[in-house]
Symmetry: C2
Subunit: 168 residues, 2 copies
Amino acid sequence: MKTETLSDNKLMISMLLKAWTAHVSKVNELLESLSDETLAKPVAPGKNTGTYLVGHLAAVHDALFPLLNFGERLYPQLEKPFVKSPDNSGHEFPPVAELKRCLNDINHVLSEKFSQLEPEEWLSRHTAVSEEDFAKEPHRNKLNVLISRTNHLSYHWGQLVLLKPKGD
Amino acid sequence: MKTETLSDNKLMISMLLKAWTAHVSKVNELLESLSDETLAKPVAPGKNTGTYLVGHLAAVHDALFPLLNFGERLYPQLEKPFVKSPDNSGHEFPPVAELKRCLNDINHVLSEKFSQLEPEEWLSRHTAVSEEDFAKEPHRNKLNVLISRTNHLSYHWGQLVLLKPKGD
């Protein structure tokens, strides 16, 4: 029974990791199919551009390093223009090809870190919650961050897909 | 140790249910803030309308009843126009207010059903996988359907939010 339950934990974590990996891979496939010119366009009139969203995803995923106690951000310079500021904030953006490389790089290192975490580490607190609060709110753990960021990725994937030309 | 691990299972399931409930509530809040005229518009030029997406979410959530062995669909008539057909397929749609009522009704009954499932039931197979396949692929369980439909809801939420007028 103990072994069976323990393997249930592992099963659930592997389901969530599979969902994350599938999303990363689908978004990557979509981004590779869109030209830089298309990514420079807003996903809908007056809304965020594809370029901004690529930078935003890279910066939000990069912030997982300190949040999950994996170390420092790889590209801390992305936070100001792509998390702390909206699109059209006057910040000059790096070329989208560079932002895509940052995103891939971050996702690649994250996936290595993820694969090394044991179930009890996934259920341990993330760095934005204190030990006291975590004792009362045990759902504020690293796995919950993975769930939330997978949903965040879905949300913006649904927007980026609107850039696909008709008939694709 | 056994109790601790068992409560880990419950914790993970409750985290996923919280994510589902939060998404349902946020999307509902968004839909209530948009007028019927706004929902009739496409989320981006040439793309799905808000009305179609509301019908699509209702129909996809309704399909969870047979898939999770909860019983029959509540609104089986939604499947053809909103799952089997794209927008602008020539189907006449019910008024969006009615589609919103269907979606709320479905989400309400689903959340009751969800709250009654025990951890071992969440990890049991859904009805689209055979017993033989499930023995080899234990991740094809009911909880995985919940994960996948929460991500699906995020994806379309990201699209529906584009209908919000500027400055909102």
